[in-house]
Symmetry: C2
Subunit: 379 residues, 2 copies
């Protein structure tokens, strides 16, 4: 482990937190991204300037490494396949990244493997979607998701009726029927090279309707033992079918009928696991590192009930970031602020997150309200 | 806070762990030390090559910073005084570092302020010590400590009788009488600019007679409420008398009479606080950072009983470090390894540490034994 060079495609906040959590392991860590001023470059001296979407850049970077991982799916998988053929350990595997970064093939994978997910149709463009409606094969309301452009709520349109047709994106899409959702859940699972598996507690998500971004996350989710067990079993089945190494974040719908449906998966550390930096004995970043470097995976123990709140750029400001209310929030017991070091803010940009550990639900609600009303990113 | 440049004199493991813990705060962190391959340079891109003992190097480095701190006392305090006069915030203050880095003035400080410590005499060299014995002013056994050269057990000689006279160091020394020790304790206390104070739980230390280095540390110490309270009160009194900002580590003797005596103090993060990286809501590094950047200091909560074991270079090996037994130790529940990234090992060199969290004393003993017998640093 000690002398292996680990290369990460992408130098954003997920890379930054991976770098932080890898320090105790003295890993020889390297990043590839456009600019060393990016979040990971600020905390890792071995930052390679390049484009993780460019075939040559990924190949040249990967050839200097022993193990290659990602912090974003949107990377050049052709280069990763060559690296695999040359004996490099690419985790998650290139085929897994390729499958997942296209929401169409992702859906087909669920269907083929009898993994529960909502009904869907694939359509090449806006005209094809309108044709499906005209022909009676598609009924309002539905959700249109771009197969490849989606990230943080972008590339998703909710089409309620024909009046929303103007919101249809002219792109290759997955069309999903609306699900009658009781809760949105997520679970992260990691698998190491020796096929050891470990799951984090199931978490519950509440979304902000404005930006389609996570409003806050609660861990553990308020679900019964049966639902919990079914989530874990489903997570294990998914990684088995994928045959992957590394961490996988799984977003789930718990329907009002009690069904558990897969919404989306991401073969990497994920926004839904940021609370683990404070809430448990291992963070998602540490567990990802251990899984791809084939270290043992030990049980996760969460110390207290946790809430994670994204710290987003205020919607009215663009420019050099200024944090308002930071000192007040830092003065709260068991409230932990994580800033990503981004110099400039823009509307709804992810600038950091706040973890709150609190077992008392009333005190927790007060702290959530205080953090949300006090801490602002302006310019 | 966000736009302040923080400069650290020294780039060893204490700096490395400070860098790790400062990542969530997005601090603009810089180090000054001889080589960027040192532990802190591996995890911080802003590493300035220079000598923290050289007046010009410290002055030039400090002038580029807003706040200057240390990870070692043995720095050029003349330059720090100039920086203070130029309006830089130097924490701990230059006068505090100067007082503490000389064990003679440290002892005089205790005496002057009625702070409890063992009896002592100052002597300029070996001849002066032999003269004190001849004149009947000094009796065997005693401990000789070099006033300025001591670190990690170096610069300390136990002189039991005239047969040990050959072990006397020919240097300016503090001569201390032997204390009838029940336990060796330590407590860390931090003070921010606003004079907020916070203490970590009192810890108990067990030393390895071979290298005079810490064998293992137990937190919290097995002491009664009265002793605990007296340790905290003493810690508060010391920082008040010092008038310092930052963290102070205080090593104490609990005598068989129940007296609490100050052994040594260090105005920085310390080996006796390494368990806090896993055992509590804040680590000593995070609390030091918060204190010198005038952030609020919140109560420390330790989650479980903790043991910290130093990982030392095997006494028979010098060269490129190889870690034996790492995977076995990483597979233990609630056992956390911290490596410092040092490329070469030498006898008893501090290469890392292992934190064990375990409330069951029998299981704890088993884990300590397993770690100590399994994990080795060879070459």
């Amino acid at each position: 482990m000690k002398n292996k060079k680990l290369g990460v495609l992408g130098g954003g906040q997920l890379g930054r937190m991976l770098a932080q959590e890898s320090i105790p392991y003295a890993v020889d860590l390297h990043f590839l991204d456009a600019d060393p001023s990016f979040p990971a470059g600020q905390v890792c001296p071995s930052f390679h300037t390049g484009n993780f979407n460019n075939y040559d850049d990924v190949l040249n970077f990967g050839r200097q490494m022993d193990i290659i991982t990602i912090e974003i799916e949107n990377v050049n998988t052709d280069a990763l396949k060559v690296l695999e053929s040359e004996g490099k350990r690419v985790y998650p595997q290139a085929s897994v990244i390729e499958l997942i970064k296209d929401k169409g093939t992702q859906k087909q994978f669920y269907k083929k493997n009898n993994l529960p997910t909502s009904e869907f149709i694939l359509a090449d463009n806006k005209a094809a979607i309108l044709q499906l409606i005209e022909d009676g094969h598609l009924k309002y309301p539905f959700v249109q998701k771009s197969r490849t452009e989606g990230y943080d709520g972008r590339g998703v349109s909710l089409i309620r009726s024909s009046q929303d047709d103007s919101k249809l994106m002219d792109t290759s899409s997955v069309i999903e029927s609306l699900v009658d959702i009781d809760k949105e859940l997520a679970i992260s699972i990691a698998v190491n090279e020796s096929k050891q598996k470990i799951t984090f507690p199931v978490v519950e998500m509440v979304f902000n309707s404005e930006g389609n971004l996570l409003d806050y996350l609660l861990s553990p989710a308020r679900i019964g033992e049966d639902i919990n067990k079914r989530c874990i079993e489903l997570a294990e089945k998914i990684v088995d079918k994928l045959g992957m190494t590394g961490i996988l974040a799984i977003e789930l719908f718990l329907t009002k009928n009690g069904d558990i449906l897969i919404n989306e998966i991401a073969p990497r550390t994920h926004n839904s696991g940021h609370h683990t930096l404070n809430a448990s004995n291992y963070s998602q970043f540490e567990i990802h590192l251990r899984s791809i470097m084939n270290m043992p995976l030990n049980p996760i123990e969460q110390y207290k009930q946790a809430v994670m709140i994204n710290l987003l750029g205020d919607k009215d400001y663009t420019g050099d970031a200024i944090y308002e209310g930071l000192e007040q929030v830092l003065s709260l017991d068991d409230v932990y602020v994580h800033l990503y070091g981004k110099k400039t803010t823009k509307p709804l940009r992810k600038m950091g997150h706040v973890n709150i550990l609190e077992n008392d639900d009333n005190v927790l609600d007060e702290k959530i309200e205080f953090v949300k009303s006090s801490l602002k990113v302006k310019a």
